[in-house]
Amino acid sequence: MANAIVHVPATAMRGEIIEIKALVRHPMETGFRHTQLGKPIPRNIITQFVCTYDGTEILRATLHPAITANPQLVFTTVATNSGDIEFRWSGDHGFSLTEKAAIVVQPQ
């Protein structure tokens, strides 16, 4: 079972606005819950998400406990050139996960 699922079009025309979906498996434990024995459950969330395109940061998100478990983000970017789109999630307890998707950009 993949820990991250990302959707990036395999190919795009240069200058085209493409849609990117990024989902990661994570409980996003809020830190506001208790066990049924009344003990607080420590917070365990993803706090940062960064997307880079060919090394350049195109989007950065700060996540709070109100984001649901298995957080997903859908956003857009302009297809500039062929290369890797990289996704990096980081969070509590040293959580860190990276995923990559390649895109081939054709000149118009």
Binding site: T30, R33, H34, Q36, G38, P40
Partner: protein, 730 residues
């Protein structure tokens, strides 16, 4: 009044309490807005009232009718302020989509928690009053007189100085065009002046119901409609792995076999019988998951451990129970248990959906049209202006059809696979029994302490079992630091479910033990078990103290006069001070629930030690106000059928992670032969708070009968249902 009518249209800020707590959105509820829905069809005076030229009146009610009479009661309240001719009144449901478009003018649709009337009486009465004022103003304008010179009665407006009259139907159109008066200036009638409300009006719809003309969700027919039968993984938490559609796709009438979400499979066919027959024949592969190991025994063991666990959430507390128990001359204790139970509405769950990319419509018997609407939004993926829900009267609700809209989600998901074709999804009784939202399991250890003079010095009530809200509304539990406040219904420190006794030292706490079985709100909710635990143990304590159960209770009720009043009322009516007739034995119980005070006293006979005949139950209800006494009587008697069926016959057991009982042969329900004579004492005590009626009394029948059983046999039965003890209801 003239002056206020001349003001531009005012908006009425409804109190959060009136919308039903929690919804503190400061909703602007405009009355008298005649733009949106019905303007093209009927002369609407305001959102609540439509009056046709022939003087017939349609009153719009947002709450759902499921046999509890709320539609009739709410219409009575509107009609009372409207001063219309009751014989010309009928009702209709607005839709959730219309409510949204009109800024939620009808308030909440949620029909549960016995709140149909008690949380909306104020704004529906105001709706009637506003409509009346607008009608009067329209007549006054026509006559060119002051509205203050006009009076109303039975849909007729009279200009007092001249005696001129006009009926509502003649001025309704003009009235609908007037600005609505400010509701703040409206004084609602004193209930003692009521002429329509407070009276035992007959329910709407009896003739339709006895002729078969009433259309339930199960009966709906739409052009081109197909029928769906469904099976969800019988082990809660399990998933659908796969199915062999080829095995059934050639069967007669079958149109489609499809996955529904992660957990269910459905067969769509021309008729439901064909769909069901094919579903029964469909090979299905389930991923049952870890819960397949769970059984009633493993659940019970887990709960049992909670009875003595060191940690528990405190629900109600006074004095120092530890010291009281430690210093007691004598303590007595007892362990009780309450099982899972299914709502078993006579009409199984169902919904009909028609989906196109431009519109998703659903027809459904629902206790909360807006919750259904929310489910449609989520399942269809369409925006609110492209969705609509049409409510149908329910063939029973009892809490299954409000907070849970699983069948709506399923119907929409199936309909999305067949755009343009209406799909009627019907659950079989077996599916309905397997996929309930069950009355939660609970065990309880009661401990009482006495001093050397036989005075009760302390009471500890340790609950151990499932939290409904941890599963259904976790946000409430989070906010309460992990505690489920609903667990303490009927024994709470304050509020609509406050304990009806004051003990010198007391602790009520809850060891939360959740299971994989989805819990739900089952008529009465947690008062069912709490009343048995508390009221049976009060009997045990009275017995231990050598005192009469009523006299013993009264010792702790000085600060609870309304609880005491209902207790005294039933004691007096049943003749508690005199010996019971030969062969009969009596029991009694009381509680406050849903802001109503209730008590029951019963007479039973026991033959052969195990054949119990409940001959008579006297029940008292103080719900503050009584909008329709005859319907209250029916709710009380009906609640006893529901509650005593549960006491004697009903338990859903878990084996291999799934519910074992699949139909009425193993999950029985009372028949007419077992029906006791029920005498209702309706004793509304007034005051600022209106109590509920549909649920409260359900909880007092069972402990009263159990206490009478002890009187008859000397045996304490401390777990439900009684069939497990070889006891039957005759």
């Amino acid at each position: 009044m003239d002056q206020s009518l001349n003001l531009s249209r005012r908006e009425f800020l409804i109190s959060t309490a009136a919308v039903g707590g929690g919804l503190a959105l400061g909703l602007q509820l405009p009355f008298g807005v005649n733009a949106a829905i019905a303007a093209d069809v009927v002369p609407e005076v305001n959102a609540w009232v439509v009056i046709r030229p022939d003087d017939t009146v349609v009153i719009r009610v947002a709450r759902s009718e499921m046999g509890q009479g709320t539609i009739t009661g709410l219409a009575q309240l509107v009609a009372e302020e409207l001063e219309c001719d009751w014989s010309k009144v009928s009702t209709e449901y607005p839709t959730p989509g219309q409510n949204l478009k009109r800024n939620r003018v009808w308030g909440a649709f949620s029909t549960g928690g016995s709140r149909g009337i008690r949380t909306s009486h104020e704004y529906v009465r105001q709706g009637g009053a506003v409509a009346r004022m607008m009608l009067v103003q329209a007549a006054a304008n026509q006559w060119k007189v002051a509205a203050s010179e006009c009076s109303t009665a039975d849909s007729v407006i009279t200009h007092q100085p001249t005696g001129r009259t006009v009926t509502y139907g003649k001025v309704a159109n003009a009235a609908g065009k007037l600005p609505a008066p400010d509701v703040k200036g409206i004084k609602l009638k004193d209930p003692k002046d009521w002429k329509i409300a407070g009276k035992s009006m007959k329910r709407f719809g009896a003739a339709e119901k006895v002729t078969g003309r009433q259309v339930y969700g199960f009966d709906l027919k739409l052009p081109g409609m197909v029928n769906a039968a469904i099976m969800e993984c019988p082990v809660f938490g399990g998933k659908l792995k796969g199915f062999d559609a080829a095995k059934v796709s050639g069967m007669k009438g079958v149109k489609k076999v499809l996955r529904v979400g992660d957990t269910a499979v459905a067969v769509v066919a021309d008729t439901w019988w064909h769909a069901k027959t094919a579903l029964d024949a469909l090979p299905i592969d389930w991923d049952l998951g870890a819960n397949a190991k769970v059984s009633s025994a493993s659940i019970a063991a887990d709960l049992k451990a909670g009875l003595t666990a060191s940690q528990a959430f405190v629900g109600n507390k006074s004095g120092d129970i530890k010291t009281a128990l430690a210093g007691a001359a004598r303590t007595i204790d007892a362990e009780y248990a309450y099982p899972y139970q299914n709502h078993a509405c006579m009409e199984p769950m169902n919904a009909t959906a028609r989906y196109t990319p431009d519109k998703c419509e659903v027809w459904v018997p629902t206790q909360d049209g807006e919750a259904s609407f929310a489910a449609v939004l989520e399942a269809s993926g369409l925006p609110a202006d492209k969705c609509e829900v049409y409510k149908l009267d329910l063939g029973g609700g009892f809490g299954r059809r409000g907070a849970f809209q699983d069948y709506v989600t399923q119907a929409v998901r199936i309909a999305r696979e067949m755009p343009g074709t209406p799909v009627k999804l019907l659950w079989s009784r077996e599916e309905d029994m397997r996929q309930g939202r069950f009355h939660p399991v609970m065990q309880c250890r009661m401990t009482g302490s006495f001093d050397a003079n036989n005075n009760l010095t302390g009471l500890h009530m340790r609950l151990s079992g499932q939290s409904i809200l941890a599963s259904v509304r976790p946000a409430i539990v989070e906010k309460a630091g992990g505690k489920d406040p609903a667990t303490f219904q009927g024994v709470a420190e304050s509020g609509e479910h406050s304990l009806g006794y004051t003990f010198p030292n007391m602790l009520v706490d809850h060891a939360m033990r959740n299971t994989h079985v989805p819990p739900g709100f089952w008529r009465g909710v947690n008062i069912n078990q709490n009343a048995i635990f508390l009221e049976c143990f009060m009997d045990e304590l009275a017995h231990a103290a050598g005192e009469d159960p009523v006299a013993f209770r009264r010792r702790f009720m000085a600060k609870h006069p309304r609880n005491l009043a209902v207790l005294n009322a039933v004691a007096e009516r049943i003749g508690w001070d005199k010996p019971a007739p030969m062969g009969l034995h009596r029991g009694i119980a009381q509680m406050k629930a849903f802001d109503s005070f209730v008590a029951a006293a019963c007479e039973i006979s026991v033959e052969g030690g195990n054949k119990v005949k409940v001959h008579r139950i006297v029940a008292a209800t103080d719900s503050g106000y009584a909008v329709n006494p005859a319907q209250i009587e029916r709710q009380v008697a009906g609640s006893f059928v529901y509650g005593l069926s549960a006491l004697f016959m009903q338990e859903c057991t878990v084996k291999d992670g799934r519910i074992e009982q699949e139909n009425f042969h193993s999950y029985n329900s009372m028949r007419i032969a077992q029906m006791p004579r029920v005498e209702s004492i309706i004793m509304p005590g007034g005051g600022p708070i209106w109590g509920g009626v549909g649920e409260p009394t359900i909880c007092v029948a069972a402990p009263a009968v159990l206490n009478a059983f002890f009187k008859a046999t000397g045996k304490r039965i401390r777990s439900v249902p009684l069939k497990n003890h070889g006891i039957e209801m005759v």
